[in-house]
Amino acid sequence: MIFIAIILGCVIGLVLGNFAPIISYTYSSYLAIAIVAALDSVFGGVASSLNKKFDMGIFISGFFGNAILAILLAYLGQRLNVDIYLVAIFVFVSRMFNNLAIIRRYYLDKFRKRKIKEAEMAENNTK
């Protein structure tokens, strides 16, 4: 159900995005880092929902809060002449890999269990 919703959301987003206006090039770097932060939140949300630990408040606040925080950090970095946004990207992407690993393991486990079950069933049938 969740995955259907995700795909549906993506399709609607794509359609809307086709009619969306372009933004100034100066702000595109901020939008880019916001996208990375949001992507991290989505993967985190999927991983936690698979583990049955999903919390709506944490997810929504994380989605918007992380994006805004990342933009603010990137802006601060530009003013201070330090590339803080690199660190933000590093953290978000490494967390994304972690969450992907959790999702991967969950489905791998599920797949293996099903195979064992099928094997058992086959064994039972032959008896």
């Binding site: 159900m1 969740i2 259907i4 919703a5 995700i6 549906l8 959301g9 993506c10 609607i12 987003g13 794509l14 809307l16 995005g17 086709n18 969306a20 206006p21 372009i22 933004i23 100034s24 090039y25 595109s28 770097s29 939008l31 880019a32 916001a34 996208i35 949001a38 992507l39 939140s41 989505v42 949300g45 999927v46 929902s49 999903f54 709506m56 997810f59 929504i60 989605f63 530009q78 590339d83």
Partner: protein
């Protein structure tokens, strides 16, 4: 937490996310470059600003060291007849080269594009080019002034030196590498009567300019101040033959 609520949240969030990604893709495609290139652009801009700062600092240093040189030269030539003569020669040379600010009587010519003329109110056989001040006009005026014995000339603050070129660069005129445009103020130091008389001669170039539609204003003036040439004259090929 109900399952459909979670799904709805995910749907909304993904919608926002893909929308943002779409906008980003379009923006980047539009500027025909990647995000990481802004970093390079910023670095280049930084470097340009830094070099400009360095350049300004160097010009200031040059100015102060020139003053120092002047004072040292003055000090060392105070008691020597021969070197006093040399010092005066150097000063005169600098004036002739246009490397010192000078004052004197002369005339001020103002040339202005005629802004009343437009494509709509001009006659079919008239040429709008004739109502504008061109680089060639400035060359003619400078030649006329030189011929009448002008000792120092500047156009919009740009000193006319031995090494000055006046040329057209589209909608501006470039003198000493600096862009200038209408209204153009030409200052010349020399005998005011002689300069005025020769430049306002009937059938002269200024009369022609005025006739074709350029706004011309000439006046005699006392104590005109003409700034020095603020660039650096570098010679590479000439040596004196002795």
């Amino acid at each position: 937490m109900k399952n459909w609520k979670i799904a709805l949240t995910f749907g909304c969030v993904c919608c926002i996310l893909t929308l943002a990604i779409c906008i980003q893709f379009k923006t980047i495609d539009d500027t025909n470059s990647t995000v990481s290139q802004t970093l390079i652009g910023n670095e280049l801009r930084d470097q340009v600003l830094k070099w400009k700062e360095k350049y300004d600092k160097a010009t200031k240093e040059l100015e102060t060291s020139e003053q120092k040189l002047e004072s040292i030269r003055l000090e060392s030539t105070q008691n020597d007849e021969n070197s006093i003569h040399k010092e005066e020669e150097i000063k005169l040379d600098n004036i002739l080269l246009g490397l010192t600010d000078v004052t004197g009587d002369g005339i001020v010519i103002t040339l202005k594009d005629n802004n009343n003329v437009k494509r709509s109110n001009i006659g079919p056989l008239d040429n709008i080019e004739l109502y504008l001040v061109h680089a060639g006009d400035l060359v003619e005026v400078v030649n006329a002034l030189r011929n009448a014995g002008a000792e120092a000339i500047s156009i919009n603050g740009q000193r006319i030196t031995n090494y000055t070129a006046i040329y057209c660069a589209g909608n501006v005129v470039v003198i000493n590498g600096e862009k200038i445009s209408s209204p153009i103020e030409i200052k010349a130091i020399g005998s005011p009567e002689l300069l005025y008389g020769s430049i306002m001669i009937p059938g002269g170039y200024l009369e022609l300019l005025e006739e074709t539609g350029v706004i011309v204003n000439v006046k005699k003036q006392e104590n005109i101040k003409i700034n020095k040439y603020d660039g650096i004259i570098n010679t590479q090929y000439i040596t004196s033959e002795e």
